[in-house]
Amino acid sequence: MFRQIADGKVDAGVTNQFFGAVNARRYNLMDTAVVFEPSSLFFATRKGKNRHILVAIDRHLHDLKKNADSIYYRTRKKWTSEELPFRIPTWFIAIASGIFVVLLVSAGGSLLLKRQVNARTFELRQINAEMEQRILARTAELADATEKARAADQVKSAFLATMSHELRTPLNSIIGFTGILLQGLAGPLNDEQRKQLEMVQSSSRHLLLLINDVLDISKIEAGQLQLSWSTFRLRDSIEQITKSMLPLAQKGNLALVVDISEDVGDIESDRRRLEQVILNLVNNAVKFTEHGQVRICVHRESDEYVIRVIDTGIGIRPEDVPQLFTPFHQIDSGITRKREGTGLGLSICLKVLDMLGGTIHVDTEWGRGSTFTVRIPEQRRTQS
């Protein structure tokens, strides 16, 4: 074929690229670019002539295309299978290089991102360490402050206890000598002297109550109030309290009603402290009731006793109820100005009951009366 081309017998030949490239040089022939992409090759002939040849070629091609093993397909397969590895299409190169660039960029990007993430992580670690340091410092400061506050609290309680003691010493002689004079042990008194001495006595007793209450509060707050547990008859305590309050109730023209249910028996508690609480409630009820009655009702509910002190007194305004159990809080209303008291009673009641494992609750209606409900365990509950 190459010789025939070189001799000018044929115009051109079609062959394999490598085979062609090698032999073309030998015959001093020029090669042209091989077009791999599907292109349309045409057999051309002069117009109007050799029509039968064209028809024969077409028919042959048509037959060849029908048969998979025909020379048409074999040739094509041979060529395409040999061509493919060596000839990468430009569109493929374009896409591949595009992908490569994208990959490169993304790899670079991810590297950059990784560096940034590392930097941020480091920063975060540092901030975290700093925060931990700060928290530690603050915790130490807080512990220090708490310790100081506790120390100050103890100083305060010790101060109150000392003051109470110091105040009691002179009060001892005031109350004592007033008592002696009123008993007539130092000689007879006229009516005016007696009246004035009774005022001294009443004032000094009030002062003593105040000091005792302050002492109680400071003892409780200093954790120095020691309870003395014993088993006693609750009924006896209630009856004793009622008896002691009877003169005051009668003076105010009030009925003092006691209603102790059959199931009320022994209780294990601190007798003195529990009686202090109940006495305080009954005393309040009598003080704040001008007409009607004060009822003390006691009954049992499973393993606790419920003690109710019900009065028909002035009641408590709803806005005053929340502060009722805070120290030195006495409700300021026209009528209460007349009442004596320390403003510590109910706060002591609350604290004492808390220590005894009990609770206190108030239901009240302004102008109609109040009910104080104490719940106290029948037996000492060991604290867990």
């Binding site: 206890a161 109470s164 003691h165 009691r168 010493t169 002179p170 009060l171 001892n172 002689s173 005031i174 109350i175 004592g176 000598f177 007033t178 008592g179 002696i180 008993q183 042990l185 130092a186 003593l208 002492l215 003892k219 120095q224 109030l225 020691q226």
Partner: protein, 128 residues
């Protein structure tokens, strides 16, 4: 023979008050205003009961009670602390130091003599 009562108390008013109340009731009352002289008087005058304040200058009531208890001849003499110490454990401390009883200040002038009398009788009954 009237019972002799020794009061150890540094506050002059309180001393006078107790002396007055007990004296009116017919007791023979002697007083000391500090612990040292109180112990000396207890040893020489042999009171039937000692009323002891806790807060005393120099030697305090705890030390006085302990010292009194070291003398066998005073072993049967009741020591009653009369004090306004009222913090938790005060009662226990003074009882541990050797006191027999405890009367809290301010004393009640209506019942004070009676209370002292109770301690006195209890001691006499034990002695018999």
């Amino acid at each position: 023979m009237t019972d002799r009562i020794l009061i150890i108390e540094d506050n002059a008013q309180n001393m006078y008050l107790m002396k007055f109340l007990l004296g009116k009731s017919g007791f023979d009352v002697v007083g000391a205003d500090n612990g040292r002289s109180g112990i000396e008087m207890a040893l020489t005058l042999r009171p039937a009961i000692v009323l002891l304040d806790i807060q005393l200058p120099g030697m305090d009531g705890y030390a006085v009670a302990a010292e009194l208890r070291r003398h066998p001849e005073l072993a049967h003499v009741p020591i009653v602390a009369v004090t306004s110490y009222a913090m938790a454990g005060d009662r226990e401390s003074i009882m541990a130091a050797g006191a027999t009883g405890y009367i809290e200040k301010p004393i009640n002038p209506d019942t004070f003599v009676e209370e002292v009398g109770c301690y006195l009788h209890a001691a006499e009954n034990r002695g018999e």
